[in-house]
Each structure stands twice: as C-alpha cells, then as structure tokens.
Symmetry: C2
Subunit: 460 residues, 2 copies
C-alpha cells in the first residue's frame, strides 16, 4: 500500500519535471513505475485465463476485442477505436488424432499413438481418417528424390532445428517452410496427407501447430504436426526399416471470412498529431493454448506502456498508437488493414514497433531504418544497458507492421527478448500464463517504453 | 544420429587444429559440441530426479558424491579425488507448520494456515509448538522501536524486496540479513520465535528456506519463512489492527558434525601443472526441492565443460580443476577445505570461477581481479557476444572460491545468468528439474568454457 501512495504523490510533479529530467532519469522513472505495478501481469492473467485461446473469427476473439478496448481505456487512452477488418475463419473442428502401425521384431503388429495437432488452415480428414503408408523425408531435396514413391502415401517431414544456432528464431526461420508449404509440395506428387516434425526444440512431446497455406492448383491434403518425442520414436522405426502405416484424423475447416477488429488506443501528440508512432502486438492466438507468450505478452506490454506514460504524465509530441492487431497468426489481415486505413486517412506514420517474440527477458531491438536513423539509434544503446535491452541489430520488423513499411517506407523495429525458451511452447499447449515470468514481462515493457520515449523526443 | 557421427569424425582433427584456430572459431566449436550434446541435461535429470535434495550430511549427499565422481570420470577427467571435509549436519526433523488465529470483524475467532518452512540451522519448537502473539516489524529499525513490546512474542519480519532493482540479487542481498540474523536480534529482546517474509519476489505462495545463524550468547528460538501470498493476508490482518496469535511447529535439529567431500576432477596442465584454474558449483542443496538451479546447474555445467574440452581434444597449459563443492548452503566448509588443501600442497591457484546463480540464460561474468587483468579481460568481450555472456563487471566472486581469494589473492569470477526468475524458486519447492531450460543450461556451460579457455591460453 505504501508504494501506491508514493506513486500518487509523485505523479503531479512529473508533468512539470518531464522536460527537465535527463533521459536516463526519465527511463528510470518508467522502470520503477512498471516494476511496482501489477497491471501488466494482471492483464495477462485475465486475457489468458478468462478469455484463453482466440483465433481470428472465434467467439473468444470477440471477447478479447472487448476486453482489449476496455483495458486501453483503463490504461488512459485519449481515444479507443475498433478498426473493422475481414479475417479468415478457420476452425479445428475436433480432436486431432494419429497413430502408426508396424510389425515389431517378432512379426507382431503394434500400434503407437502420436501426439499431433492439425496445422492451421488445413483441411480435415474427417471421421473416415486418412490411412496410408508413411514415407519419411528429411528435406525437400529428399522429397524430390522420392517423388515417385509418395503417391497415395503420407509424407513425414523430419527436418530438425539446427540447434547450433544461438538465436532460435534462425532455426525456426530455416525450417518453417516445411510447415507452410510441405503439404502442397507433397500433394504435387500424389501424397494424401503430411505429418511434419513440430517446429520446436522442446524436450517435451507437445505438438506445435501454426499456419500453412495450400497451392490452390493442387489437391488440398490434411496436414498435422507431431510432438518431438514421438518423432524420435518414429525415427527409430524408420531406422530399423519398418514398414509403417499411419492413420490421421483431423477435422479442420475454412469457414467463410468473417469480421474482426484491430483495437487501437491513442495518445494524441501535442506538437505533431498527424505524425504517428505505432506500437503493438497481436490479439489473436492459436486455439490450443492461452496465447500467453504469443502474443498475450506483446498485447499487455503495449497496454502497459500506455498506462505508464499516462501515470507519469508523459505527453508525447507525436501521436502514439497502441494497437492490438486482429489477425497475425493465419492471415496477417490486421496489419494490412491498419496500413490501408493510415493511407486512407493521410497519416504520416513515422515509426512502428512490434512485440511478438515472447515476453522473455529483454535482449534488445532489431531495426529496419535508414543509415542516418541507425546512427542516431546506436547512440541510445547505453540508456538500455541497465534494463537488459541494449543488443541493437538491423533487419528486424514484424508481420503486423510490415505493411506500414511497404506502404510508406516507415522505419520499423521489433522487440527482441531472449529466445531460448520460445520454441519450447510456441503454438503448443504449453503457451500458458504460467510460462510467463512477471518481471521478464515488465522488463520488456520498460525497454519498449524507453525506445518510444526516445523516438518521440528525438525523431529518427 | 547423424550428428553424433559427425562429432566422432571431427574429434581427431581438433587436437591438431587447436592451436591453429582463431579464438572465435574454437569457441564456436565448443558451442556446437555442447549444444548438440544431451549430456548436461541428462546429468541434471539424474542429479535432481534420482538423487533429489541433498543437504550436507544427508544420505542423498553421499549418493550425490558418488554420482559426481562417476560423472567426472565419464566426462574424461585425468583424475578424480574426494577431498574429505567436516560438514555441519542439520536436519529439518518433520513437517513445518504454522497458523494464525484472530477475531474477525464479527468478533468470531478465525484460524488461517500459513505456508512455512523452518530456516536451515534453526532449532525446532517440537511438537508442543510455540504459541504467542505476533508482532509485525518491517525493518530492524522498527524492531528497535518496538523492543519493549516483543518479549514473549513471535516477531514477524516483513521487509519486501526492492522490486525496482533490475538485478534481483541486489534486492536479495539487501534483505537476506533478516533471514540470517533476525532470530537472534529478536531473541535479544525476549521474542520466542520469528517468522520472516520469504526472500523472494515470486507470484506464488511457496515459502523459501535458507541458512540462518544464532548469536551464541542469546537464546536460540525457532525461525521460519512464510510464503508471500500468506504474507499479504497477514498484512491485511495487521493493517486492520487485528490482534493475532501465531502457532509454529518446527523440528529442526543440529546433529554432530559429520564427514562430507568435495568431488574434484582434474585435467592436468601440459606446461604448468602446478598452476591451477578452478571451476565449480556446489553439490549440496536444500532438502525441500531438487536443488536444480541451486546448484545442480552449476554442477552439471562444470562437468559439461570438462566433457566438451575432452571431446574436442583440448589440452590446457595449466591444470584445470572441476570441483563439486561439499557444503555451500549452510556452512561453506567445502570451499574452506579446498583452499586449505591447496595451501598444504603448495599449489599456485591462478584463477577460480564459480557458477552458483542459476542455470538461466547467460548475461556475463563478474570479476575480482587486478586492473591489469581487467584490461585483458574486457578485450575478450566481443568473443562472448554471440553467446549472450558479454556483460562483464567487477566485484564478483562466490562463497566457495572466496577462501582461495582470501588465502592466495587468487583472481576470481562468477558466472552471471539472467536473474529475473531466480528468486521465484530459490530455496523453495519450486527449484526442480522442470524449472531449467536445456538450452539456457548449455549456453551457460559454453560461456564458462570460453572463459576458461581464454584464461588458460593468455593468463591473467
């Protein structure tokens, strides 16, 4: 209680003090405010535990939009609007299930259940299942070599993460193409379904879903991800030259497009109201978890930055938009709509920042900016060192802000938290509230707030 | 499987290559080897799940010593020895329990159970319990103000962590004195027991034990730590001016000293065998958990560095000792014995490094070294950047290597992982295998191995 009184006492002074404080002193004030507040962690609890998984088009996503609008109002937005946008509407439709059957060393038939999840956007096998011989390929090259063998069969893509890469997103980036395009590439040679090794380096057996897309010129076949421990067991069977039959039950269905919304809170700029800084995360998540690190943390950090700015009486020169995007996971329609409206409204987007790599302890930011902006930014590095976020690199962005960059050439950046734990839980049942540490979440918000403060003050 | 063959193939080349590789190339080789090996994570699993909590003097600690010696042999130590040392032998003796009784707003008596753990080295109340009025103090200053009120009562120390400190060890360092000395300071004024707010910033209710010590000139009174959610409930009762009676059951007992061992593996130096680099963690842990982050990760990283060095054919110029210390938690006798024997044997300890801050994602190292050594060290920073461990600072060391520094003036350092999650689980039931991420554990070992490699090659 004492701490709350203290903050209440400090607040009126800060409006006056804002321009007289050094940058490091103001950032320290942001840090203290966020670390002493329970708001971000409580918001994450509500979003994950009360609403839960929220794929675009789902009833949970509608609830999440209402919650997000209210949370932005509570945090002190001058204005909150919902930007309507048309979103895809995929449903899982049932409990995904798979098994393999093979003859053991004694010639006896054995069946092993596999822990699987249908990939997002994929068609279902339905209750009649797909049943066929299983063919293992470790790469697309191997698929090409075996192209004459896969007709009428189920292809099992088994390309492991390159664990020697320190940044796990690099390993994911190299392999995710098996998830996104593997089904159609196998369908081209007549395969009837695909199983893919989960995009993960986890030590558990949770399967990891995620979006895929079909080549519309080819037959659409069911596609599911397999947990890594089951992948190891499958590998042993293949290594022993077993003949394996797989059976897959999935029920996925793409329903007609429906209506979703970007939820947008705003702090009006005092000097340049038409020049807009955007910060955001995506409100939608997969259906199989609570969407905690992906991207409940980005959403609650976005709201937390607004709350802290208001609590400290910070009045930005430029308008800052706090955006909870509608549809990152299986369509990226939210970000497209946001840029489209910015264009329609003749706005001048001067910077956009996305937090969509998890709520882990901060490492830094990655920027796609001009050389002159980059030179400005690296001079700020030392301000981030006390808060763990000083690892600055180039090339970063994000799915939801890329359309701004494409449309306007807007400088963009992504928040980079530590990536070691992300693919343990990403798109799997493990992405729940309990996987988030309250202080790591808050430290992310602190670093994001500091960067927005500096961009607003000094420009890019 | 392919990866294992690859490593086997590379090994014979590396002995030759060692001196021809750049430092960054050799460190990359260390990194690849450790990231592709399951040895460290498997070792941690065995230590935590098969042996479990292992306080000095316990049967589990005897098992841990045997396991540790074998693990060091398996990793390729030239020699493994057990250094006998006399250790304290405290036992918890039973299930700690506490409750408070108070009259609610309607005058009705209510009882609330508290989640508690007796502090290590404390005396027990026994089955008759201690029962007395509870007095809350938020600091030692407040204890002094209330010194005439505490006679015959139980003192409740309630000083929260300073959550605005980014490095959580600083908050712990400021408050731990309530745990270590609070009982005797209250006993001085006639208190009959103490409850302390757990040394934690966790969002759960697990109590956190840890060592305390008595002033031998004062009565020894029972002492226990309370979980933070129960602390909040107690606070509400006190804020409402309730009269509170507490009842505490603990059974702690200090048995006669017994025999423990430091477990020491060695790689013999090729040029300076009498000049010794020490690296280690402590094998003992508290009894209420699996001692995973404290300090199973330090132990398994120590063994992993040895394994990787041997696997890569690295032959150090100086002798490197891989030490699993006997008794860090409640006596620090292992480190003292290690320095004592080094003195007896006329060794020249040139550097010592401890990993005892958890197996979280690496941040860097903290050094207690001369200015000239420091200038050498900071020139290595860029070699650590790819592996997350480049945050170098001064002033660090560790309980088990401090005696080397005291006795010989040996330069010492500690491995600094990210500290945000540590006090969620430190000394509590939450410090289990599942709280450790395999890649974070391995990245720690990589950074430690890199530092030892550089110190061996260039000296300090």
């Amino acid at each position: 209680m004492k701490k709350i009184f203290l903050i209440a006492f400090i607040t009126p002074l800060t409006v006056f003090a804002q321009n007289n404080l050094s940058d490091s002193a103001f950032i320290k004030r942001i840090s203290d405010n966020i670390l002493l507040s329970r708001a971000s962690y409580n918001n994450l609890h509500t979003l994950t535990k009360t609403i839960g998984g929220r794929l675009a088009g789902s009833p949970q996503m509608v609830k999440a939009e209402q919650w997000g609008a209210q949370a932005l109002r509570n945090a002190g937005a001058d204005d909150v609007t919902l930007q309507e946008c048309i979103v895809p509407h995929w449903v899982r439709g049932g409990k995904d299930k798979a098994s393999v059957t093979y003859k053991n060393a004694n010639g006896k038939t054995e069946t092993m259940q596999l822990n699987v999840l249908a990939l997002g956007n994929s068609v279902g096998s339905g209750a009649k299942a797909v049943q066929a011989s299983l063919v293992r390929v470790n790469s697309f090259d191997e698929l090409e070599q075996k192209k004459d063998e896969v007709k009428g069969k189920i292809v099992f893509y088994n390309c492991p993460f390159d664990d020697t890469l320190i940044r796990t997103f690099e390993a994911y980036g190299k392999n995710v193409v098996y998830r996104t395009t593997g089904a159609s590439r196998a369908a081209k040679y007549g395969a009837v379904a695909v199983l893919i090794r989960s995009m993960s380096n986890s030590t558990n057996n949770n399967p990891h879903t995620g979006s895929m897309r079909y080549d519309e010129s080819l037959p659409k076949i069911p596609a599911a991800a397999v947990g890594l421990r089951d992948v190891e067991k499958l590998d042993t069977l293949f290594d022993n030259n077993m003949q394996i039959t797989a059976q897959l039950f999935t029920y996925g269905k793409m329903l007609p497009d429906t209506i979703g919304h970007n939820v947008v809170g705003e702090l009006k700029g005092t000097e340049f109201p038409n020049e807009v800084i955007t910060v955001g995360g995506h409100l939608d998540s997969w259906d199989v978890n609570e969407g905690a690190h992906d991207d409940g943390t980005g959403v609650t950090q976005t709201i937390e930055v607004l709350r802290a700015f208001k609590a400290l009486g910070f009045q930005p020169k430029h308008t800052i938009r706090f955006v909870l995007f509608a549809n990152e996971e299986n369509g990226a329609r939210g970000g497209k709509k946001y840029a489209e409206l910015a264009k329609q409204n003749n706005e001048k987007p001067i910077f956009a920042l996305e937090s969509d790599a998890g709520g882990f302890t901060p490492r830094g930011f990655s920027f796609t900016v001009s050389d002159s902006s980059w030179n400005k930014i690296i001079a700020w590095k030392n301000l981030f060192e006390p808060y763990g976020g000083s690892d600055f690199s180039r090339g970063g962005g994000g799915t939801d802000i890329e359309p701004l960059n494409k449309t306007f050439g807007t400088p963009v950046a992504e928040f980079i938290p530590d990536s070691q734990r992300y693919f343990d839980i990403h798109h799997s049942a493990g992405d729940v509230f309990e996987a988030v540490n309250a202080r790591e979440l808050k430290l992310g918000a602190i670093n994001i707030a500091a960067l927005l403060y500096l961009v607003d003050k000094y420009g890019l």
